[in-house]
Amino acid sequence: MTVSPFPRLPLGSAIEDLVTWISTNLGWLLDGITDVLTALTNTFQSILSSIPPPVLILFVAIISFALKFRGRSQKKSQYKRFLESIDLPILCVAGLFLIWDLDLWDHSMETLALVIVSTIVSLVIGIPIGIFASHSDRFNQIIRIFLDFMQTMPSFVYLIPAVIFFGLGNVPGVIATVVFAMPPTIRLTNLGIRQIPKELIEVSDAFGATMVQKLIKVELPVALPTIMAGVNQCIMLALSMTVIASMIGAGGLGYQVLYGIQRVDIGSGFEAGLAIVIIAIILDRLSQNLIPVRELKQS
C-alpha cells in the first residue's frame, strides 16, 4: 500500500463534523424542509391515486394528442396532422394500460408524485440560479464547480447525509433526486440565455426595457426551447433516481425493483423496471411536445 509522506488532510472527518453541526444546529430548517416536501408529496400522491385509472389514461391520451397536434406544421392538412399525432396517444394508452394490468398502478402513482415534486423543486431552485449564472460570469464559474460535483459524485455518497438530515422515507429520496436532477436545469437555462444573439439583447436595451422586462419579454421566451430541454433532462434524471432513492426508504416502483433484487425475483423486478421505462417514455414525449419549436432564423 502506498502511504503519502505528507500529513493526511482530515477531509473525511471535517465532512463528518459539518454534517453533525448541520443536523444539531439547523434542525429547524431541516424540519421545515421535511414538512413542506412531505405535504407536497402526499398531496400529489393523493390526487393522483384518487383519479380512477381509466380517467387518467383518457386524460393523458387527450393531452398527448393535443400537444402533438398543435406542434405539427399548420401548412399540412388536418388529416395529415391527425395521422402524425395519433401515435403518441396510442403509445400512452398502451403503456398505462399495461401498468394497470400488472397491478403496478398505485406504485406508479407514488413514483410519479415523487418525480413531480423533485422536478418542481429542481426547477424552482434551478431556473433562477441558471438565470443568475447567465448574467454573471463569476457566479457561473463558482456554480460550475458545484454542478460538476453534484453530477459526478456517486449518488450513494449523499444518500447517507440525506438520511441523517431527513430520516428515512420519501423526503430524503426527493432531496437526493433534486441534487442529481437539478444540474441540467441550471446548465441549460444558463446556456439558453447566453446563446441569445447579442442583437436581440440590444433590441430590448435600445427600446428602453428594464431588467425585468428584458428577462420576461426577451431572454426567457427566446431561451425557452433550451430551458425546456433542461426540464426534460431533469424529469428523466429524476426517474432514473427512483431505484437509488428507494434504498433510503422512498416508495413506489423503485422500491418494487429493489424488492425484486433483494428476493432475486426476476419477474417482479423486471415488471417494475418496465413500468419505470414506460413512465419515462411518456413523460419524455409529453415534455418534448410542451412548446411549439420556432427556430431562430439567421440570415
Binding site: 444573439p197 442583437e199 436581440l200 428602453g208 419579454k217 440570415s299
Partner: protein, 406 residues
C-alpha cells in the same frame, strides 16, 4: 428629395457630438489620460492592451437629414452609433440631444430617451422569434406600458407604412430577409421617435432587395422627416442615402460632407482611395455631365441663322426652343440647308420627337439612351425648359475623371 446639405445652421442640429472617445479595456480612464498626454493609439494598444475605438469624434446631425457614418469594418462606426444611445458607454466627451448631454444622463433619463426619442434598426433584423409580426412591431410600445388595444393600432399603422399589411399574424421565420427588415423598420417607427439609428440595416440583404429598401427608406423619410443616422460600409449606399456623410477610419472621422463634396473634394489620400472605385455612373446625374445648351435657336428664327450658328460651333444639329426656353425639337444641318434653298420657315423642319431626359437622371441610365440616339440628348426640367445638352463625349469625359472635379 433630401434636405440639401447647403442648408445648415446650428439651430437645426438635433444631435451634437463633441470630443467623444471610447476606449475598450479594464481601465479606460487611466488610458484616456495616456491618450491626452499624446501617446499614440498603437503605443497604447501595445503597452496597456486597451483599444481606442473612437478618438475625439465631433460632428453634428441636422434635424431631418440622413447622416451616414461610413468606413471599412472595424473603423468604429457601429461603436459610435451605439454610443449615441449608450448601448456602449462612451469613455469621455459629450453627446448633446437638443442641448441635453446624454453621456451624463441618468439611467432613467436614458430609458425614457430610448423609449420615446431614438430607436434602432439592426443588421440582422433582430426580430423576436416567438412573437408574431404585430407583437414584434408593438414591442417598443409594450415596453412603454401602452395598453394592448392602443399599441396594436399603432403597430398596424406602422406595418402599413412599410407595406406589409396582411402579415400581422405571421412569424419572423416565415418572412424573407427583406420583409423581416421592413418589420424591423416598422418596429423602430412604431414609437414615433425623432431619431432612427440604423446599423448596417440593409447590408444583409440581396442587392436588388437592398436597392428597394433604400428607395423605401428615402420615401418614408420624405413623408415622416425623421432624423436618420445610418451606418454603412457601402459607399454607393452612403452616396444614395446620405444628406451628409462622415467618413471614418481607425476611430476618427476623416471627412464630413455632402456626397458631392466627398466625391469631388476628397480631403486626403484615404478619402480619395475610398471613393476611387465608386461607380460614378450611378452618382453623377444628367446635370453633372451636361453642357450649356449653346448655341440654340429660337423657333421664330430662320434657317440661314441656324446654319451660321452650326458652322460657327462646328456642329451638325441644333436644339430649337420656344418661349421660356421650352424645348421644341432639333434641326439638322441638311434640313436647314434644304429649307434655306426652298424658303421654308424653321418650324417646318423641326424634328419634334427628340430624346429628352430629366436633369436628375443618373448617368447609368443615360448611357444606353445615348448609345441608341442619333442626336445629342436634351436635358430638361419639369417645365420642359432646356437646361443643357449631353453628347457622348461629355459622358465619357465625366466618367473618365474618376473622383476628380466634374
Amino acid at each position: 428629395m433630401n434636405i440639401p446639405s447647403l442648408i445648415q445652421n446650428d439651430q437645426g442640429s438635433i444631435i451634437e457630438v463633441r470630443n467623444l472617445t471610447k476606449i475598450f479595456g479594464p481601465r479606460p480612464q487611466k488610458t484616456l489620460s495616456h491618450l491626452q498626454r499624446g501617446c499614440s493609439v498603437k503605443e497604447i494598444r501595445e503597452k496597456t492592451g486597451h483599444i481606442v475605438a473612437l478618438q475625439n469624434i465631433s460632428f453634428s446631425v441636422q434635424k431631418g437629414e440622413i447622416f451616414v457614418l461610413m468606413g471599412l469594418s472595424g473603423c468604429g462606426k457601429s461603436t459610435l452609433l451605439r454610443c449615441l444611445n449608450r448601448l456602449i458607454e462612451p469613455t469621455a466627451g459629450e453627446i448633446l440631444l437638443d442641448g441635453e448631454d446624454l453621456v451624463t444622463a441618468s439611467a432613467d433619463q436614458m430609458k425614457s430617451i430610448r423609449r420615446k426619442r431614438m430607436s434602432m434598426v439592426f443588421q440582422s433584423f433582430a426580430l423576436l422569434p416567438h412573437r408574431n409580426i404585430l407583437d414584434n412591431i408593438a414591442f417598443g410600445l409594450e415596453i412603454q406600458g401602452i395598453p394592448y388595444e392602443e399599441r396594436v393600432q399603432e403597430a398596424k399603422k406602422s406595418l402599413d407604412l412599410v407595406g406589409l399589411s396582411g402579415y400581422e399574424y405571421s412569424y419572423p421565420d416565415q418572412l424573407s430577409g427583406g420583409m423581416q427588415q421592413r418589420v424591423g423598420l416598422a418596429r423602430a417607427l412604431a414609437s414615433s421617435p425623432d431619431i432612427l439609428l440604423m446599423d448596417e440595416a440593409f447590408s444583409a440583404l440581396d442587392p436588388i432587395i437592398r436597392r428597394d429598401m433604400q428607395n423605401e427608406l428615402l420615401d418614408i423619410q420624405d413623408r415622416l422627416e425623421k432624423t436618420i443616422i445610418f451606418v454603412s460600409h457601402d459607399l454607393d449606399e452612403a452616396l444614395k442615402l446620405g444628406s451628409r456623410i462622415a467618413l471614418m477610419k481607425a476611430g476618427e472621422i476623416i471627412q464630413v460632407g455632402s456626397p458631392e463634396e466627398i466625391l469631388t473634394k476628397p480631403k486626403n489620400e484615404f478619402v480619395e482611395r475610398f471613393v476611387e472605385d465608386v461607380d460614378l455612373s450611378r452618382v453623377l446625374t444628367a446635370k453633372d455631365v451636361m453642357k450649356v445648351p449653346d448655341p440654340m435657336i429660337h423657333v421664330t428664327s430662320g434657317p440661314h441663322v441656324a446654319l451660321r450658328m452650326m458652322k460657327e460651333a462646328g456642329i451638325s444639329t441644333l436644339f430649337v426652343v420656344g418661349k421660356n426656353r421650352e424645348l421644341k425639337g432639333i434641326i439638322t444641318a441638311d434640313d436647314a440647308l434644304r429649307a434655306g434653298k426652298e424658303g421654308l420657315p424653321l418650324q417646318d423642319i423641326v424634328i419634334p420627337d427628340v430624346v429628352s431626359i430629366h436633369h436628375d437622371t443618373p448617368v447609368s441610365e443615360i448611357i444606353p439612351v445615348i448609345a441608341e440616339s442619333r442626336f445629342p440628348l436634351a436635358v430638361i426640367n419639369e417645365e420642359k425648359k432646356l437646361k443643357g445638352v449631353i453628347v457622348r463625349g461629355s459622358v465619357l469625359a465625366a466618367l473618365g475623371r474618376s473622383g476628380g472635379s466634374v
